[in-house]
Amino acid sequence: MALEIPVDSTTTTTNAAGPNPGEVIVTDNLWKTYVMGDQQVNALRGVNLRIRHSEYVAIMGPSGSGKSTLMNLIGCLDSPSQGRYWLNGHDVSQLNDDELARIRNKEIGFVFQTFNLLARATSLHNVELPLIYNGTPTAERTARAKEVLESVGLGSRMDHKPNELSGGQRQRVAIARALVNRPSIILADEPTGNLDSKTSVEIMALFQELHAKGNTIVLVTHEPDIAEYANRIVTIRDGVVAGDQLSTRNRNQQP
């Protein structure tokens, strides 16, 4: 691991120089200000972050600290009020809605706390959805969706609708959907937030498997033992990075 313990990438440093080779996510002084009426909420106040290819990062922090806001920016679901963001070496902080949509489709796999599956569609169709938007031919689409569903252990649940699946199975469908376009990063905002502890362990095992296969994963969680599955834990407080260190498990693995 290239990182020292503890890693310091708080507001004091700057990433203005942009990405180095091998870095998937680089943010420089990222701000997000929400305007509500005459009130302004600075959800992020200058976040500097570097995440390398194949890293497994957990983002922790108290409620309201800006974790989801940061995930939305990293996931190109929203644009920063200020600062720059390089995804895979490209500056994406100034792109328009449709360009961002294309990047989300190609580069990012989302896993949400509330699953966010289409309620009336089968597992297979839910997983095919991202492929529809980039014009993958039907036969290939179905084949790939089936393959990914099988890889998450849902080979026998392709024709089930979300309400015919357990919470854990739904989250597996969502993970399959996140994987189907072979994205550069997988973003998961509290993926175990709606699951019991046994199912959470299964889902975390799946993430570990994905990481072992070389996927880059960024995961938001409240729970320290979930965060421990990651290699690196970034702590957000009041909209800035307050801590950045290797996880205990990872530390113990270090010589």
Partner: protein, 371 residues
């Protein structure tokens, strides 16, 4: 290649979304069908309306009256010339009038005419029995005139010292001047009184414009005659036709608006209900264009299905209404289809305006937060 594939997928999604959302789609489809059906029925009737109304109006009798000056009665052959100057479906009949005295000594108007022509011209006359063709001394007696004569069966009339005997074969009742007249064949009257015909009554089928045109033509050909439309009939006819047109336009517009509002409500609900779904599709990489296309495709599919069903239902309704009111069938008019199609597409487009705005403004980040 990639484009057409995307389109195919959108069609697949359309199929899924329509099928999955049966109840909503169904209510929008019903509304679209109603609009197309009503528009088809009204427009189909409308296409036939003028002919039908004018046909109805023919039964009201003459709408043009030609009168010769008092000192110069109509020459022989004028009627034939008038008929040649008019469209083939016009009807004309000439009349000669003389004031005679009955066997009771009461003066009465004796009218000479061609019964066959009068019967066609004034189909609204109530006559219990018309004289047979070529019956030279048969007469029909007006309801009031019947009271002026002693023997209502064997008529005896006198004019300038000359008398005539006629058989009354029928009783006439119109509610007008005709009721106090006695009608007989023109030849009989002329032979008896020496009075030549002075009036030609004409029935020109068609609206006010047609009648005016016919009058202009007649005036040009017969400058010596006084030619006048039966105002209340010609004007009444065009007024009724105009009002019926206005009524139909009004009904179509009203129904289109009602349907637009109902479809708007349905489409809006269908977007608002699926805000999260649409937000998710955006998050997964659906562009504004793709989502909008998918949604509009849904609206257009509903509009087209509505037109297909509505055209069949509306044509059937027009046929039934026409049978019931005019006793003639109105066949489906294919020419109505483009108008109905355009109407429904406009309704769908109007109804889609608000939902499309909602769709554009959807922020995936805010909607996917959970809760």
């Amino acid at each position: 290649m990639a484009r057409s594939v995307t389109k195919l997928s959108l069609l697949g999604m359309l199929r899924r979304s329509l099928v999955h959302r049966r109840a909503r789609s169904f209510s929008a489809l019903i509304a679209m069908t109603v609009s197309a059906g009503v528009a088809t029925a009204l427009l189909t009737l409308y296409a036939d309306l003028d002919t039908k109304l004018h046909k109805e109006f023919r039964s009201f009798g003459a709408n043009v009256v030609m009168t010769a000056p008092a000192d110069k009665p109509l020459a022989a052959g004028v009627l034939e010339k008038v008929q040649r100057a008019l469209p083939a479906d016009a009807v004309a009949a000439e009349f000669a009038y003389a004031v005679a005295t009955t066997d009771k000594g009461t003066p009465v108007v004796a009218a000479g005419t061609d019964f066959a022509a009068v019967r066609r011209l004034n189909s609204w006359w109530q006559v219990d029995a018309w004289p047979a063709e070529g019956d030279a001394d048969a007469a029909i007696v007006g309801q009031r005139a019947a009271g002026f004569v002693g023997d209502a069966k064997a008529l005896k009339l006198a004019f300038a010292g000359r008398s005539i005997a006629l058989r009354s074969v029928g009783r006439l009742s119109t509610g007008g001047d005709e009721d106090s007249r006695i009608y007989m064949p023109l030849a009989a009257l002329t032979q008896w009184t020496g009075v030549a015909p002075s009036v030609i009554e004409v029935q020109v089928p068609g609206g006010a414009a047609t009648v005016e045109a016919a009058i202009a033509r007649l005036k040009q050909e017969f400058p010596e005659l006084q030619i006048q439309p039966v105002r209340q009939l010609v004007e009444g006819e065009s007024k009724i036709v105009d009002r019926t047109h206005a009524l139909m336009y009004g009904a179509v517009v009203l129904i289109a608006l009602t349907v637009a509002v109902s479809v708007l409500a349905t489409l809006s609900a269908s977007v608002l209900e699926r805000r999260r779904d649409f937000a998710l599709m955006k998050a997964l990489g659906g562009s504004q264009g793709q989502l909008m296309g998918m949604f509009l495709l849904e609206a257009v599919a509903l509009a087209l299905a509505g037109v297909a069903a509505g055209f069949v239902i509306g044509s059937a309704a027009a046929w039934a209404i026409s049978e019931g009111n005019f006793h003639t069938a109105t066949l489906p008019h294919l020419s109505v289809l483009p108008v109905v199609l355009a109407l429904n597409l406009v309704i769908a487009a109007m109804a889609a305006l608000f939902p499309v705005r909602v769709l554009r403004g959807l922020q995936p980040a805010a909607l996917l937060k959970g809760e």
